[in-house]
């Protein structure tokens, strides 16, 4: 030991995430200049790289509130919720909940749900691969209607249903150049089916009952139970149309039978 001040990584890390703190003692510069100016490079690297990551994941949110507001909000999030994983792909899972409680964003009540949709899309983008159940298997299932109420299926790992009090699908679509943003009433409830077809992540607008139906399937419900829940919400629920949507997007990857999830896969 040379008697010099030891700089613990805990002190270093704490000062990185708190712009109000001095840099740790025990740092030196060759020209005797203030180490705080140089420490700011590390602090900036951490903050800017993580804010950039959030801006990449939530581009529609960024457009909705403007880049300046978004980046200021993201800086607060980064400081309060630094990543807990070394894989940054899914950084921001807590961002929608943060946005919903971020007072300066209260005038944009739908922002948190748009963030939820963007995070759901990211999860779908990187979800595990799975092949759709072959048409012959599907046909065999449909050929025995008596078994349909007890049928359980596994949907593609990318599939998720997002139900919102706000027009999240229309808001998102308008930012993809689909439709006119000024014509969107953000206060209308919408539900979205998110799925990955090939490498293409898609958002499909759902009626409320179909959203209940597919969401129940995602969570392993029997077809009959999902049908019942959807019909409770909307007596006019069209089972054939909802099943048609599921088949059209080829999101069934396995048929589950019995109590132990014995799978029939391709």
């Amino acid at each position: 030991m040379n008697g010099a001040m030891h700089v613990g990584q805990g002190d270093f890390a704490a000062a990185l995430l708190d712009a109000g703190r001095e840099c740790p003692r025990g740092l030196r510069t060759w020209n005797g200049s203030d180490p705080n100016a140089r420490f700011a490079v590390y602090r900036n690297n951490v903050l800017v790289s993580l804010v950039d990551a959030l801006a990449d994941t939530f581009p529609v949110c960024c457009e909705l509130v403007g880049e300046t507001f978004f980046r200021a909000m993201a800086r607060v999030f980064v400081t309060d919720h630094p990543p807990r994983a070394r894989v940054l792909a899914f950084y921001g899972r807590e961002f929608p909940a943060f946005v919903s409680t971020f007072a300066p964003a209260a005038s944009v009540p739908y922002l948190a749900d748009v963030a939820r949709l963007e995070m759901t899309r990211l999860e779908a983008c990187h979800a595990a691969d799975a092949l759709p159940l072959p048409l012959s298997e599907i046909a065999a299932v449909l050929a025995t209607p008596a078994q349909l109420p007890g049928l359980r299926v596994r949907l593609h790992p990318s599939v998720a249903v997002l139900r919102s009090k706000y027009a999240v699908h229309s808001l998102w679509a308008a930012h993809q150049g689909e439709g006119d943003l000024s014509a969107v009433d953000p206060m209308l409830a919408e539900a979205v089916l998110v799925l990955r077809a090939g490498f293409d992540v898609r958002c499909v607008l759902l009626d409320p009952a179909s959203a209940v139906f597919i969401d129940d399937l995602v969570h392993g419900a029997e077809l009959g139970a999902a049908h019942h829940a959807a019909s409770l919400l909307d007596p006019a629920f069209d089972l054939a149309a909802a099943l048609g949507l599921v088949l059209q997007h080829e999101i069934i990857t396995a048929r589950l039978t019995g109590d132990h999830d014995h799978e029939h896969t391709c």
Binding site: M1, Q9, L16, G26, W30, N31, S49, R86, A89, D129
Partner: protein, 308 residues
């Protein structure tokens, strides 16, 4: 401390990157790479970017790996951390290496985690006996876990520690000697750090174990000033390789011979052709050195007439 170290020394049978220029692989360039099959020595990816369950990233990396040599470059192992290495991350890395069978795996002489927080930057370590023991133990652990040797990259730093008792080249040389790891020589980092700490880059280079260099990195930097008004260079990976770094690279290559050389670009990534042009410039330097080596071997057999 352990007998496996000497076994970790890179041997003739171990996979190595070709002594050519390579490029960082960007998702925006997947299609261009597969459709145009550019003449490039290898591609490099950040390990953590491909630690995802599925989707386009693993798919395209597999397809491109079928046609090109691959370098897997980790940014999240936190080898310089005071804490133990993360077993889960080691397992994820081992799975990645098993799946893509890269010719090279490299990591940084830096730390990026504290507790369970990942700071997403390459943070500096003091060059002390205690750090040396820890870094060597961590490099040993990575190499044992992967069953192969790794390359350790010299850092770009903005601050030094009062507690340091050895120079950066001394520290790195000792890690290489003790662990048998190779050296990923980042020539841009050498220039950046030497400017930032008032050091001589030519002496720095010559103080390293250049016979253990398994790969070279070239990148661009940004220029700021510190509190005294002196230049402070930032390792930005957001600009073309600077002329001063090309010059240092040419000097390095005369000392190391031709070595796999990556053009690193992570920010403001330009069109693929622009990066390819930089890679071809590195290739010309490498070819020039290969030609020089041949010329040298011819010249020694000749009597050169020097005009009076």
């Amino acid at each position: 401390m352990s007998s496996h170290r000497s076994e970790m020394r890179r041997t003739a049978g171990a996979p190595t990157l070709p002594a050519r220029a390579g490029l960082g692989l960007k998702p925006a360039h997947f299609e261009a790479v597969l459709s145009t099959c550019p003449d490039i020595g290898f591609f490099e990816v950040h390990a953590e970017n491909y630690m995802v369950p599925g989707g386009s990233l693993p798919h395209f990396l597999e397809r491109i790996r079928e046609q090109y040599a691959l370098s897997v470059h980790g940014v999240g192992m936190s080898i310089g951390a005071e804490a133990a290495l993360d077993r889960t991350h080691l397992d994820a890395l081992a799975a990645l290496v098993a799946r893509y069978e890269p010719q090279s795996f490299s990591e940084h002489l830096a730390w990026s985690t504290h507790g369970d927080v990942f700071l997403n930057d390459l943070l500096p370590v003091p060059y002390t006996a205690a750090t040396l023991a820890r870094v060597c133990a961590h490099v040993d652990q990575v190499q044992s876990h992967l069953g192969r040797s790794m390359l350790l990259e010299n850092p770009a730093t903005y601050l030094e520690f009062e507690a340091s008792t050895m120079s950066e080249p001394e520290f790195i040389s000792e890690v290489v000697r003790r662990t048998g790891c190779g050296l990923l020589l980042d020539v841009n980092n050498i220039h950046v750090s030497c400017v930032n700490h008032g050091r001589d880059p030519h002496a720095y280079v010559r103080a390293l174990p250049l016979d253990q260099v398994g790969e070279i990195h070239l990148a661009g930097f940004a220029t700021q000033t510190d509190a005294a008004g002196d230049p402070l260079l930032i390792d930005s990976h957001g600009a073309p390789v600077a002329e001063v770094v090309w010059a240092l690279y040419a000097e390095v290559i005369t000392l190391t011979g031709a070595v796999a050389t990556l053009i690193e670009r992570d920010n403001d990534v330009p069109a693929f052709d622009v990066l390819l042009a930089e890679a071809h410039r590195a290739d010309r330097t490498l070819c020039g050195q290969a030609g020089q080596n041949m010329a040298d071997s011819v010249r020694v057999r000749r009597v050169v007439q020097v005009p009076a």
